[in-house]
């Protein structure tokens, strides 16, 4: 405990520093001026001035997801806080640890409809993991530390601390991080040992097992991902990952089948449909993954490892729920698995010795599904760039540099998930749960701040990129070499695709008639821009982009009519996937499917 009382704003800064924070993404305003004054007088914390508060939260998300640390946001009251709401909801859906400090009008004006007043704790209650309104400077230090504890414990999420201006001026005593352990919030991290044995017995007995890993693995950390990979290899079972889980198992591992779900790989979805044991790890049986629930993985028993009790048995009935941290539970599973002598799987490869003949038959079935080559697309025309081709080339030309990829939301996002192959966690940042257009550019900014020398690419669509384009100005200010790779088809591609498949080709408002010239736009923001429309120019353009030391926008004009396949139509089951346009005629979109999102 420090002896001298200091002002609330200094307590805030001191708490941030003691929590190991080095960067804050923010935007000043009347109610947070005292904190900006304290920031001015110190050097431990770096402040990144965004251009809109929504950008600050996505930047903090990118920072958090690429480092495993808590992202920190500082915004003012009223509109500052309301602009942050989309980012907070995004972080809640994707379990990203964020601490968002919001200014508030002085306590005596709260409820008075004061200038720039909003009921921030009321507005953010359903879109945060927890929130606080600080009403006494004596509570401030504890609440600051508690906010970090809550944000990163259990299932991570965003926490808002609302700071009335008089509290920031008031004198109080600082207390250290040890005071921030919440008095009762203790998420369970270790699973019940009896359940572990049950799970191991099921895995050992399975003929057609499948691992299904999700974003929880990434949140649990690289160690959890390593244990997951080890278990998958020991059991010698195929493994699929969710959109949020990409990188948890190296994509180069022969056990990896690719992404699962609505635009996942044919082999992943068919395996999910046909397995007799599904081992879900840090994944949440989201509707994009399961398709029609009553036809979901009908013949399997299910093991589910998750730290959030409300994820267990939420959509799908689980036979063996394992409540706990992925890393801890996987560790326990690994030691239990090793207690018995098992047939050896060849390291890193597939011997198929584990599990015998039935397992061999399962792998043969999987190889047959793989042979369908579900990502193939029509390469017929040589004068048009296919979006898939653009991403194939981007991946091929950048993979050596171990890039960090962020995306916006839509077709380009799904293609990026399909064509990029991630061998490590923390390299793939996308808005999965909320599906926030405009996420990718500010997220890339946050990633670049955390990894100044890395190659950071925002794979974007021309519609999404305009949603937070103002952050190009932030990128200019801090000289961040962020690359923006726009797949420009002049349509909101995914909207157009659904209109084609479900609404008789009536392309209502999905065409953007007056797009900016992205080359001039790049120039206006001090970046380099280039437009490319011919396949034979693409490689050279990509090389120019990654070799340019500054920020770069590459505007790739792609085939406007291309649709994203494979696809499980809404309301359909995994074994009713559409593999390409030729499947469209018999599109099994049911009436129930129509009303789903």
């Amino acid at each position: 405990m420090s002896a001298e009382p200091i002002c609330g704003a200094d307590i805030v800064i001191k708490a941030l520093v003691d929590q190991g924070v080095d960067v804050v993404f923010g935007y000043p305003g009347g109610a947070v001026l005292p904190i900006y004054d304290s920031l001015f007088k110190q050097n431990a914390l770096r402040h990144i001035l965004v251009r809109q508060e929504g950008g600050a939260v996505h930047a903090a998300e990118g920072y958090a997801r690429s480092t495993g640390k808590v992202g920190v946001v500082l915004v003012t009251s009223g509109p500052g806080a309301t602009n942050a709401v989309t980012g907070l909801t995004d972080a809640l859906m994707d379990s990203v640890p964020i601490v968002c400090l919001t200014g508030q009008v002085p306590t005596h004006l709260i409820g008075n409809d004061a200038f720039q007043e909003a009921d921030t704790t009321g507005i953010t209650r359903p879109c945060t993991k927890h929130n606080y309104l600080v009403k006494d400077v004596a509570d401030l230090a504890r609440i600051m530390h508690e906010a970090f504890y809550v944000a990163r414990s259990g299932r991570p999420g965003p926490v808002v601390v609302d700071l009335p201006k008089d509290i920031l001026f008031a004198l109080g005593r600082y207390t250290g991080p040890e005071t921030g352990r919440h008095k009762s919030y203790r998420p369970q991290t270790q699973a019940d040992p009896a359940r572990i044995d049950e799970a191991v017995a099921l895995i050992a007995a399975a003929k057609r097992p499948l691992f299904y890993g999700g974003g929880g693995l990434i949140n649990s950390g690289p160690e959890a991902c390593a244990r997951f990979t080890e278990l998958v290899r020991l059991v010698d079972a195929p493994c699929t990952l969710t959109l949020m889980g990409l990188g948890a198992l190296p994509a180069s591992d022969p056990h990896f089948l690719g992404m699962v779900g609505m635009h996942g790989m044919y082999e992943s979805n068919m395996a999910m449909h046909g397995c007799d044991l599904l081992i879900a790890v840090g994944s949440r049986f989201d509707d994009r993954v399961t398709g029609r629930l009553n036809a979901f993985s009908p013949t399997s028993k299910k093991i589910h490892i998750d730290i959030d009790p409300s994820s267990l048995n939420k959509n799908v009935r689980i036979d063996v729920p394992l409540l706990g941290d992925c890393g801890e539970v996987l560790g326990a599973l690994l030691s239990a698995w090793r207690k018995e002598p098992r047939p050896e799987a060849s390291p890193g490869g597939r011997s198929h010795a584990a599990g015998g003949a039935a397992r061999n038959a399962w792998w043969r079935q999987i190889d047959a599904w793989r042979a369908r080559d579900c990502l193939r697309y029509d390469r017929g025309r040589s004068d048009l760039i296919k979006p898939q081709y653009a991403l194939e080339r981007l991946y091929a030309l950048t993979r050596e540099r171990d890039p960090y990829i962020t995306t916006e939301v839509g077709q380009h996002q799904m293609w990026a998930a399909q064509f990029f192959r991630f061998d490590k966690p923390y390299h793939w940042m996308t808005s999965g749960g909320l599906g926030t257009m405009g996420y990718g550019l500010p997220a890339a900014m946050g990633v670049q701040i955390a990894h100044p020398d890395a190659l950071v690419i925002d794979v974007a669509g021309e519609a999404s990129i305009l949603m937070n384009i103002q952050e190009m100005s932030t990128i200019a200010q801090y000289r961040l070499p962020v690359k923006v790779f726009i797949l420009n088809n002049q349509y909101m591609g995914m909207v157009r695709q659904w209109q084609e498949l479900l609404h008789g080709g009536r392309y209502s408002e999905s065409y953007t008639a007056a797009l900016p010239d992205f080359v001039k736009l790049a120039d206006a923001f001090g970046a380099v821009g280039r437009q490319v429309s011919r396949p034979d120019e693409l490689d050279e353009a990509i090389r120019e982009m990654i070799d340019t030391p500054s920020a770069f926008i590459l505007d790739v004009a792609v085939d406007q009519t291309e649709n994203c396949f494979p696809m499980i139509p809404s309301g359909a089951a995994h074994n009713e996937m559409l593999l390409g346009p030729e499947d469209k005629a018999e599109s099994p979109v049911s009436e129930e499917g129509m009303v789903l999102v």
Binding site: G122, P126, D308, N313, K314
Partner: protein
């Protein structure tokens, strides 16, 4: 999910929470935001030293929804404990109501007679009205209120259900 009307169960759930600003809004927001039913909800501080409040919520849903409700409640940061009294053995449920009945003559006498049978207490009387206080299971309150309806029922104020497990065990 499959058959939404089938096997709907009614559960009485007790929740021990930090008595801090916004905690009730958090619980109510959880129910409205996720489309769960609230049939009754009561809250009051029960432990002044540790600043804990107890919320009793009566809800209904399929067994899977009930499990979800409990899991969602227990992951709220200020929630200490969640107990499904309906699942955890016998428990006592009580509610209190204040019931105002106005009338003269035979109807007035009849309301007083029924109040006596139901063991309701008169807590206010004028020459043309009574206020009855009645404590009991919610069904008993419903029955009494239905009887008062034709006898000049004016208004009703109810507390909602509070509940506690039978036996020596503690929460």
């Amino acid at each position: 999910m499959a058959d939404p009307v089938a096997n709907i169960e009614r559960h009485t759930i007790a929740v021990l929470v930090d008595n801090e600003p916004g905690v009730l809004a958090r619980v109510i927001g959880l129910f409205s935001g996720r489309g769960y039913n609230i049939e009754s909800l009561t809250v009051a501080e029960v432990d002044r030293v540790n600043s804990l409040s107890r919320i009793t919520v009566v809800t209904s849903g399929t067994p899977m929804i009930i499990v979800q409700i409990k899991a969602q409640l227990s992951r709220l940061v200020p929630v200490h404990k969640v107990h499904d009294l309906s699942d955890e053995g016998p428990f006592v449920e009580r509610e209190m109501a204040l019931i105002k009945v106005a009338g003269r003559g035979e109807a007035r006498i009849e309301s007083l007679r029924l109040a006596d049978i139901f063991r309701a207490r008169v807590v206010d009387a004028t020459t043309e009205s009574f206020v009855f206080e009645m404590t009991g299971a919610s069904d008993k309150l419903n029955a009494f209120i239905a009887l008062m309806d034709p006898l000049g029922l004016v208004e009703v104020s109810r507390t909602g259900t509070v509940a506690i497990a039978r036996g020596p065990g503690r929460f």
